[in-house]
């Protein structure tokens, strides 16, 4: 069971993520936000629960579907939304956009627009933890599609053979854009691949915060004990298209509807109400606060300045070099 205080915080985080995503969608539809924008609505539990178990010195990497991770890992909505709008006040000063949010202060090594690209980077984070012997861990979050990239294999083998403090978390939402999981992947569960690296592999209902929590807690314990990595597959579903604007040619609306019934927010809310840890009123207040925060973030971002084109060459190198023409 998730401790009560953490339950509340996870619920709050999920609500903040959802409010953020819906605000982004709204802004997009109002033509106030653009770009490749991948929403994680429906999948919030994975980010919210697992990051709850991490602290600021633990590292994560994540995929293009990364807003939730940014928020769950301690990110603020304002610079996150500002980044989606390409504003100077964004996490990457408008250079990165939706797919490249970073937040080093919170141990977020960055989202990655190359499918599978962030997995070895998390392994490197774990290697740094091991070499510094600081007791910290790294978590790589990636989609089911990414589990067919070579980097997945190389990363799991590296982590396995070096017994690195890292947890691999596959958000299996059943699709890579239009391609169903079964058409791209030779196994039914990504977690079975763990045995190819002599590490535990487990599949959980990614919409069940308790299940995700239990699996992650065990994996993190294992990692911190020096016993090496774990692969956790979280089965989930996205409520919206691959990106905003996706025609969703191959997805069945009825299935989406079913998954909406399995909303992770609702699930944790009901559990907490049932155990007396939450009232309807409290929930409404939390939800309202989250929406307000998202509204404020939008407001902040809309009013933020565009980056100055004159600064475009500023951040190429840390150690400045004589200018190249």
């Amino acid at each position: 069971m998730i401790p009560e205080k953490q339950q509340r915080h996870i619920l709050e985080t999920m609500l903040r993520i959802r409010a953020f995503e819906h605000k982004a969608l709204q802004l997009f539809e109002q033509n106030k936000l653009r770009g490749s924008c991948h929403l994680c609505v429906g999948q919030e539990a994975i980010a919210a629960v697992i990051c709850e178990l991490l602290d600021d010195e633990d590292y994560i990497t994540c995929s293009h579907r990364g807003h939730g991770y940014c928020i769950a890992k301690g990110g603020e909505l304002k610079p996150a939304m500002a980044e989606l709008m390409g504003k100077e006040t964004g996490y990457c000063k408008g250079r990165g956009g939706s797919m490249h949010i970073v937040n080093m202060a919170k141990g977020h090594l960055g989202a990655n627009a190359i499918v599978g690209g962030g997995i070895p980077i998390a392994v490197g984070g774990a290697l740094a933890c091991k070499l510094k012997n600081n007791g910290h861990v790294a978590v790589a979050f990636f989609g089911d599609g990414a589990s067919n990239q070579g980097t997945f294999h190389e990363s799991l083998n590296l982590a396995g053979v070096w017994k690195l403090p890292v947890v691999f978390v596959c958000e299996n939402n059943g699709f890579g854009i239009s391609v169903p999981f079964c058409q791209s992947t030779s196994v039914k569960d990504v977690s079975v691949r763990a045995s190819g690296y002599d590490m535990p592999g487990v599949t959980v209902d990614g919409n069940d915060p308790e299940a995700v929590y239990a699996a992650a807690a065990q994996a993190l314990e294992r990692a911190k004990a020096g016993l090496g990595p774990t692969l956790i597959e979280c089965k989930t579903y996205r409520w919206y298209g691959h990106w905003i604007g996706d025609p969703e040619i191959t997805r069945d609306k009825a299935v989406t509807k079913e998954w909406k019934e399995k909303c992770p927010i609702n699930r944790l809310k009901m559990q907490m109400i049932k155990t007396g840890n939450l009232s309807d009123k409290e929930f409404s207040e939390m939800e309202k606060a989250a929406k307000q925060e998202a509204d404020d973030a939008a407001e902040f971002s809309l009013n933020s300045p565009e980056p100055d084109p004159a600064t475009v060459m500023d951040d190429v190198f840390a150690d400045r070099v004589p200018a190249i023409i």
């Binding site: 250079r95 990165g96 067919n148 391609v179 992947t185 040619i249």
Partner: protein, 326 residues
């Protein structure tokens, strides 16, 4: 002649060649039901079925390598990369395998493989989805490199590429897909590789460019004509082989050359062209060859910044005036 979009021209040639030759097939991410996220294989699944219009896992090295293998074995694969930025993920299969197989094996294997996809700016897709990467493939021998700038060029060059017995890197531009133009209906319409396209003649300065910069150069030309500067605009169409002769002939007339591309300026194909031209037309040059290309920074998400990184019409105008000493 039919008026088609650039993406339709590509799709129609693929379909025609697949009907004509059973060894042609397509594989790539989301090419089947979705018809490619830019629609270049739209409707082909229905016509040719899932064996020949083949959705792949997200495994670029794997399926490019499978393309190399299938091409070695007599098939003619057309491999779609969703973004040409992902060539990096499959780079070994492209540069160490596809490019080298014929030559390293002493000519014993032919590799009729097309690797195609789009690249470039215009949608603010940020650093890993907005690059123009063609120059790399010009440097490593064994690959042919095509870059169509119009629907007709897309059709004519793609048919040549599919029928060619060598690996071809085929670079489309995301911002060109929606542009329309006349395309010959002739199912044998081909544009040869290595023959530059002189879009418009002019006596004062030669501008070599492709993809989005063809239109931009023509715009600048229209403007500068009024100021008495007559630009000749040339699109090389293919980088390997590169039609230097046409450019040199032009420069012998104009005495001035500006090369414009979206790829990064430093180490881009403009450097190669500039170097060859200054060598072959040294005595004819009245001004140094100028190059315009993306600044040496990662393509930014923000559109204002993106525009600040890649050359604009004003930059072309300024460069043209500079070489004309105006």
């Amino acid at each position: 002649m039919s008026v088609k979009k650039y993406s339709e021209a590509i799709r129609d040639v693929i379909a025609e060649e697949m009907r004509r030759d059973a060894s042609v097939f397509v594989m790539g991410e989301d090419v089947a039901d979705q018809g490619g996220i830019f629609g270049c294989t739209k409707g082909l699944l229905e016509q040719f079925g899932p064996e020949r219009i083949r959705n792949t896992p997200i495994s670029e090295a794997g399926f490019v390598g499978a393309g190399v293998g299938a091409a070695s074995c007599g098939m003619r694969p057309i491999v779609e990369l969703m973004y040409m930025d992902f060539t990096y993920v499959a780079m070994d299969q492209i540069l160490n395998q596809a490019a080298k197989i014929r030559n390293m094996f002493g000519g014993k294997v032919s590799l009729p493989l097309v690797i195609r996809g789009q690249q470039g700016v215009g949608r603010g897709n940020a650093g890993q989805h907005s690059q123009s990467v063609e120059s790399i493939f010009m440097h490593i021998p064994g690959l042919k490199v095509a870059m169509p700038s119009s629907p007709a060029d897309a059709a004519g060059l793609l048919r040549s590429a599919i029928r060619m017995n060598d690996p071809v890197m085929f670079f489309e531009h995301k911002a060109l897909y929606a542009t329309a133009g006349e395309v010959p209906d002739d199912p044998e319409f081909m544009i040869p590789f290595g023959k530059a396209h002189v879009l418009v003649e002019g006596r004062d300065v030669t501008v070599v460019c492709n993809h989005l910069y063809v239109q931009k150069a023509l715009n600048v030309r229209a403007k500068l004509e009024k100021e008495g500067i007559h630009m000749e605009v040339i699109d090389p169409r293919t980088l390997v082989p590169l039609d230097v002769t046409t450019v040199v002939e032009s420069v012998k007339k104009t005495g001035r050359l500006v090369v414009v591309h979206e790829a990064h300026k430093i180490g881009g194909w403009g450097a190669e062209l500039a170097s060859q031209v200054q060598e072959l037309a040294f005595r004819y040059l009245d001004a140094p060859v100028l190059r315009l290309g993306a600044k040496q920074c990662t393509l930014p998400f923000n559109l204002g910044l993106e525009n600040a990184v890649v050359p604009q019409e004003a930059d072309i105008e300024a460069a043209v005036k500079q070489v004309c000493y105006r």
